[in-house]
């Protein structure tokens, strides 16, 4: 046995070492010459290349693959198609992997889950005998009295619930990539209908993407050995041979891209198809979509219909024909249509004994296959029904009831359920406009209305006939290509003929639809027909509340195995028709999809300024601010702040939002969106800009500089610029104003040079006259600094003489170095965000969203000076006017406060009065100037006067502070005007 990546090529003598196998079949998936090994619960299991974990375990004789969700009943292979919950295991640390479709890789580690001490001997199985104590919804009726009981029981319930376990220390496995694709026609489903559709559309010159969840195209034909004759366009042959013919044509046809082993899990607005394909997730935009997802077999209803060995007929055939593994030795086939006879023949062909075919119709099948089954000596029991199975960990016999109500037991180790189908409409129904209706004749719910650009073909339509399937496929392919299908009427005719020849399907319920406790409707959630009875009796008599109460259809298969049975059971119990009963809502994903596939590589974009490298080299601590990384400090914020106060400092303010606003109506636009007036701003002047929302609450602030008659340079807060750009354009739209708004945030770097020696530093690098007479406070100029063209903004956020220099960002490092060099003789220091926060706080300058919140009125924030009620209407004026009318006792004001000592309350702590919260601290720091704690706080208006005493709660203590209505540093603003 091998445990290497490559696997071993074996001599013919050792070929059967990968478990017990049937004789080789021509179209099987496995390569019997290669054996690979994997670890299963501590032992080595051999598999062939092409095996799934499920098929390899079946070959190794493992019957019980899992324990059920509620009763911990043993469960074995059922669908062998990745639909049902029975084979969920932990694979390489990842829980709930569908092992019946997961290909074996050498060395993988596989273990069963949800059992203790083991799946073979599960203590939880005792719950199966306690069903009287655990009726549907039992947990709503117990453990809540006394109140404490639920506290005790909840952890127990939680431990019992859940399926697989996660390893919380792992990294979750490989990351996935994302890919975007576009195609003229997306065809979902690689069976005969899908292949025919793809061929027809591609032949018409369209670009086609064919998505199929199996490793090889062919759909149900892959395991269909029935011989077909007279099928239009394919030649005679077995299903497997016809699949091969079609597959070859697809490979040879130009314009078809095939995604095999790919699951289309989402069908979103705008024909966006989400595909999970290995470690890749594909977003596929399609012009037209053909849904050819087929129909899947679903279980029948009888007692103990969930026992290992009870399989879907298609599952048994898959196992035998694709993987060469015998699903059992003695089979009973139960069927509601002629397909069961084909199943019986298929089993006989690979050497499995068939004890009986239970034809649940009153009139037994009269097809060729039925005759062949009889000829081969198999007993056919017409009009009989399976009512139960016996056995412990595998079925050992079935009980059938004859039309005369007599019962009979038949020994077997395999029960194949054939003929009950559910069209796979989960993907289709995610698209609004797609409607599925119950077709009385077929007994299936099939597409009845389709949105534009969406087509269906094949078994999903309820027609289960290869000729019709291929004709439908070709017709939809032509429709998608916009070719008027001359064959449409011909198709109608053959569909009519099919309907005319169709026998009514047999019932697939046990004893006349009577319910039973262990007759499972929903295998994921262990919901039985009895549970449905009880829940309907309790008043959950519409499909939606019934679903939520019973949790039927809500498990890992999301109704793939049970939706039809659930709706029919609900209809029976409520006495309503199936049409009136309706359906549950189809939601994405149509098939479980890993979080990693959705997340993709997990790129979280972060923006770095052009000076990022220099900050790091200088030892800066970087923090995230909105999307940006900024230098928080270079070691000591207090010292950095002092450097600005006493000498000169520079800070990288490149993250400021920057908008270039031009046009003859630029001033008019700014007047409309800002509270201040800008149309009268003189060239070369700067004005503070405050933006409020329609309710008058502060949104953003910054500066507005008039560079020319029709040209403004606007700054916004870091992180808000995209929203503000949208805001400008929103209020511009439809007005006819001639304004162009350009976001130049990343094009310009910006450095603020501030402090008593800022001028002395800058004059060394520029010939712009920086004297206050020439370039006073709130004025701007343009000129060169260190050979770089700059916009100079003389503003004073930190309260010192200073210039904000905006210049092309490619020169940022050069500029920074030039400034550091020029300022060296003054002991220039870079300062970070934290120092800037201290400095601006000493000046009482607000930071939007720190000192303001979503309803802050600028008047209450002490910014009456920034609002011009004497200009024409502006955004937020109505809200501001309304707010002015409010009585003072309801208002809070933003004020400064100073502590009596160095104690610094934390930002956000409440201001209290008699133990009641009446306000809050928004910013607080240690003042380098006062050497005391200080900050800004919202307080009741009655306390908004110089010298008022307030109390700030921190922990259990209230600390007194004194209100100040002026900045604690340079209250008259002389320094920044020097």
């Amino acid at each position: 046995m091998a445990n290497s990546d490559a696997g071993d090529r074996l001599s013919p003598a050792r070929r059967l070492s990968a478990g017990e196998r049937l004789p080789p079949g021509e179209h099987e998936f496995i390569d019997r010459d290669v054996v690979i090994g994997f670890e299963f619960e501590g032992r080595q299991v051999a598999a062939h290349e092409g095996d799934t974990i499920g098929s390899a375990l079946a070959a190794a004789g493992v019957d019980v693959l899992s324990r059920s969700f509620k009763y911990h009943r043993p469960r074995g292979l059922l669908c062998v198609a990745g639909n049902c919950p029975n084979c969920l295991m932990k694979v390489d640390g990842i829980p709930n992997v569908r092992t019946c479709t997961m290909a074996v890789r050498a060395g993988m580690t596989v273990g069963r889950q949800n059992a203790w001490p083991s799946v073979d001997h599960d203590a939880g199985a005792v719950l199966d005998r306690m069903d009287r104590l655990l009726p549907v919804g039992f947990y709503y009726k117990v453990f809540h009295r006394p109140k404490l009981l639920w506290k005790i029981m909840r952890p127990v319930v939680r431990r019992i619930a859940g399926l697989g376990s996660v390893d919380t220390s792992s990294d979750g496995g490989p990351t996935y990539t994302h890919r975007n694709m576009h195609t003229d026609v997306a065809v979902v489903g690689g069976g005969p209908a899908g292949m025919a559709a793809a061929l027809a559309a591609a032949a018409a010159g369209l670009d086609v993407t064919l998505i199929d969840d199996q490793p090889v195209l062919g759909g149900h034909l892959l395991y269909d050995a029935t011989r077909y004759t007279g099928i239009n366009g394919t030649g005679d042959g077995t299903g497997q041979e016809i699949a091969e013919t079609l597959r070859k044509r697809v490979a040879e046809q130009d314009g078809i891209q095939v995604l095999s082993g790919a699951t289309a899990f989402g069908f979103y607005q705008g024909n966006l198809i989400a595909v999970h394909h290995g470690y890749e997730a594909v977003q596929l935009r399609a012009g037209q979509v053909v849904i050819a997802t087929g129909a899947i077999e679903v279980p029948m209803q009888f007692e103990n219909n969930d026992r290992p060995g009870v399989m879907l007929a298609s599952g048994a055939l898959r196992l035998a024909r694709l993987y060469g593994v015998s699903p059992g030795k003695r089979a009973v086939v139960a069927t509601t249509d002629d397909s069961g006879y084909s199943t019986a023949l298929g089993l006989l062909d690979v050497g499995i004994a068939v004890e009986a075919v239970i034809d649940m119709r009153e009139e037994p099948g009269a097809s060729e296959a039925a005759d062949a089954v009889r000829t081969r000596g198999v007993e056919v029991l017409a009009g009989h029904r399976v009512v139960s199975t016996s056995g412990t960990k595998r079925v050992s016999r079935v009980t059938v009831v004859a039309p005369d109500s007599s019962e009979r037991n038949i020994k077997c180790d395999l029960v194949c359920m054939a003929g009950v189908r559910q069209p796979v409409t989960g993907l289709l129904l995610q698209q609004p406009g797609a409607v599925v209706e119950y077709d009385e004749q077929f007994g299936e719910s099939v597409p009845a209305q389709l949105p534009g650009g969406v087509h269906v073909a094949g078994d999903i339509t309820g027609f289960h006939d290869l000729g019709i399937t291929l004709a439908q496929g070709a017709a939809t392919g032509r429709q998608a290509a916009g070719i008027d299908p001359e064959g449409a009427s011909q198709l109608d005719a053959i569909e009519r003929d099919y309907r005319a020849g169709q026998q009514p399907p047999g019932a697939f319920t046990g004893r006349d639809g009577r319910s039973a406790k262990k007759e499972f409707i929903c295998v994921c959630e262990d919901v039985s027909s009895k549970d449905i009875d009880v829940a309907v009796g309790e008043g959950f008599n519409d499909i939606q509340t019934l679903k939520r109460y019973t949790t039927a259809t809500m498990g890992p298969c999301q109704g793939k195995m049970c939706h039809r049975a659930f709706v029919e059971a609900a209809a029976r119990r409520t006495g309503q028709s199936i049409v009136a009963t309706g359906r549950t809502t189809a939601r994405p994903p149509a098939q479980g999809v890993p979080l990693g596939a959705l997340a993709g590589p997990g790129h979280m974009p972060r923006k770095r300024t052009a000076l990022d490298g220099l900050h790091r080299a200088a030892g800066a601590e970087m923090v995230e601010l909105g999307p940006w990384l900024r230098a928080h400090n270079y070691g000591s914020p207090q010292e950095e702040a002092l450097a600005v106060r006493e000498r000169v400092g520079i800070i990288d303010v490149s993250t400021l939002g920057k908008l270039d606003v031009r046009g003859p109506d630029a001033g008019a636009l700014l007047d409309r969106v800002y509270t201040h007036r800008f149309s009268n701003l003189r060239e070369g002047r700067i004005r503070y800009g405050l933006l409020v929302g329609e309710n008058g609450a502060i949104m953003d602030d910054g500066t507005v500089t008039r560079l020319a008659e029709d040209h403004f340079f606007v700054t916004t807060t870091t992180g808000n610029v995209d929203a503000i750009e949208d805001w400008f354009n929103w209020w511009l739209a439809g007005t006819g104003m001639e304004v162009f708004v350009t976001n130049v945030t990343s094009s310009y770097a910006a450095i603020n040079v501030a402090g008593p020696r800022a001028r002395a530093t800058l004059v060394k690098l520029t010939d712009v006259d920086l004297s206050t007479d020439a370039l006073g406070y709130m004025r701007s100029a343009r000129g060169m600094v260190a050979g770089v063209p700059c916009i100079f903004l003389r503003i004073g956020f930190v309260g010192e003489t200073g210039w904000e220099l905006h210049f092309p960002s490619e020169y940022a490092e050069h500029m920074w170095r030039a400034l550091m060099e020029a300022g060296a003789e003054f002991d220039i220091a870079p300062f970070g965000l934290e120092a800037q926060r201290i400095l601006r706080l000493e000046k009482g300058h607000i930071i939007v969203s720190q000192d303001t919140d979503a309803v802050t009125d600028p008047l209450d924030a002490g910014m009456r000076w920034a609002v011009r009620f004497d200009k024409p209407d502006f955004i937020g004026r109505g809200g501001l006017v309304a707010n002015r009318a409010r009585p003072p006792e309801e208002k809070q004001k933003l004020v400064g406060f100073v502590m009596h000592d160095r104690f610094v309350p934390e930002d956000g702590q409440p201001v209290v009065e008699d133990g009641e919260p009446v306000g809050r601290v928004t910013s607080s720091r240690l003042s380098p100037t006062l050497k005391k704690g200080f900050g800004l706080a919202w307080v009741p208006e009655k306390h908004a006067y110089e010298g008022a005493e307030i109390f700030i709660r921190s922990g259990q203590t209230d600390s007194p502070a004194v209100v100040t209505m002026k900045p604690v540093y340079d209250p008259d603003g002389l320094r920044l005007r020097e």
């Binding site: 990842i94 829980p95 709930n96 992997v97 104590l133 039992f138 947990y139 709503y140 453990f143 809540h144 009295r145 109140k147 639920w150 909840r154 952890p155 319930v157 939680r158 431990r159 619930a161 859940g162 399926l163 697989g164 376990s165 390893d167 919380t168 990294d171 979750g172 496995g173 607005q269 009796g537 309790e538 008043g539 939606q544 939520r548 109460y549 999301q558 939601r587 994405p588 890993p594 979080l595 990693g596 959705l598 997340a599 997990g602 979280m604 923090v623 601010l625 720190q850 919140d853 979503a854 309803v855 809200g879 309304a882 309801e890 930002d907 956000g908 409440p910 209290v912 133990g915 009641e916």
Partner: protein, 404 residues
């Protein structure tokens, strides 16, 4: 032997021509209002819903119960709701699977931590057991969380409310429905109100198709559809309806026992008693009445969940859905009578915070309807606050809404 009672949850009745009170909307607010009304003796009540019981936001929210809000108005309201939830299973004799295992609001940036601190301070003054905790205690409470330093948005601190929890939302709705039914209230699912009848400036009933049903009081408890109901009485509400999306994974054995929210990552996560990981996000940035979900949001939610719990990468998403949120400008509800429209009552503006308020919302609305007096708890939430500029501002405390 019958071990469990199997009584009908609520009986079916023909719709009568007259009730004392008609409540439009059979979600948690409509049914809890009916229940508390009946407890006060007002039993001639009909709850009418165009769909199934609990099919709107009540069936789509992520059922986190907490009171760690920001404002003086909001905190006591949600605190009282939490208190009602604590005894609700006993009161309704229905296990609502309510647990109080606690909730963490994570802060990944200075400004987020500042907001959490603000809420903590207010919570503690107003009787809610919130406190700020650091990374080591976060790790103790949620050992599975990824607190590695140096990654994008590292966890700096959290607001921890230990009495917060998670409830089984459907059970709450059903429990109130059954409780109301037992006290004589009629519940009429699949019955669509097509018009509201006014006479002499007063609301006097509703039309259900051609059937006119009269009532002294008509209350709208229709959350995402409130604007449409209000339009029937020519009332424009300051509401914008946005979808909010969520998903669940396949069931896993328990690995987290708290609900965890991150406003920076726009995601909140907990594990249900069934083992599913429930993940919700912010409201979608556009307004819509569509309850259809989108791939983009699913991808974002998944990516952000993995930032906190990277080991979930291989775990399957089972289903994704969207619900409607009637967002108010100040992230607080709109409750009570409407000036100039006697006989009409509103309970809306429930945004992303409605389910938490189900019990107290119903309790206070019932008191208002039964006595004509507005309880102090909901006085700040009247519609007239928008005309008077008295907004409540719960924005910072509604992280699910904050991207809106």
């Amino acid at each position: 032997m019958q071990l469990f009672t199997q009584n009908t949850m609520w009986r079916r009745y023909p719709l009568q021509d007259r009730y004392d009170v008609i409540i439009i909307g059979a979600g948690v607010h409509g049914l809890s209002t009916a229940y508390y009304l009946a407890k006060q003796g007002v039993t001639n009540v009909a709850v009418i819903d165009k769909g199934y019981v609990g099919g709107g936001a009540s069936g789509r929210n992520t059922a986190i119960i907490r009171a760690n809000y920001l404002t003086r108005e909001g905190i006591p309201f949600f605190r009282e709701s939490l208190r009602l939830y604590e005894d609700l299973a006993t009161e309704l004799d229905f296990n609502l699977l309510f647990d109080q295992s606690g909730r963490l609001d994570l802060g990944h940036t200075d400004s987020a931590v500042f907001g959490l601190r603000m809420r903590t301070g207010m919570n503690r003054l107003l009787g809610v057991d919130s406190r700020m905790i650091g990374p080591s205690e976060i790790k103790e409470l949620v050992p599975a969380i990824d607190l590695r330093k140096g990654k994008h948005l590292p966890v700096l601190a959290a607001l921890y409310q230990s009495s917060a929890g998670v409830v089984r939302h459907d059970a709450v709705v059903w429990g109130y429905g059954r409780g109301a039914d037992r006290l004589g209230v009629e519940i009429h699912p699949f019955t669509e109100v097509t018009g509201i009848v006014r006479e002499g400036g007063r609301v006097v009933g509703v039309d259900v198709g051609g059937h006119r049903v009269r009532a002294d009081v008509v209350m709208s408890a229709t959350a995402g559809w409130s604007s449409n109901i209000a339009r029937m009485v020519d009332l424009t509400l300051p509401l914008v309806t946005h979808p909010l999306q969520a998903f669940v994974t396949e069931p896993l054995k328990p690995f987290i026992n708290k609900s965890i929210s991150s406003a920076n990552l726009h995601v909140y996560v907990y594990q249900s008693d069934r083992g599913e990981v429930v993940v919700g996000g912010g409201v979608d940035p556009y307004s819509s009445y569509s309850q259809r979900s989108t791939l983009h949001t699913l991808e974002e939610l998944a990516a952000n969940t993995l930032e906190l719990f990277p080991f979930l990468r291989g775990v399957n998403v089972l289903r994704q859905w969207a619900g409607l949120c009637d967002m108010s400008p100040d992230y607080a509800p709109i409750m009570g009578e409407v000036d100039g429209l006697p006989g009409f009552m509103l309970s809306c503006g429930w945004g992303t915070w409605g389910f938490k308020a189900g019990p107290i919302g119903g309790f206070t609305m019932a008191e208002l309807i039964a006595t004509g007096r507005t309880p102090n708890l909901i006085k700040p939430f009247n519609l007239r606050r928008f005309a008077e500029g008295k907004l409540v501002n719960e924005r910072a405390a509604a992280p699910a809404a904050a991207v809106h």
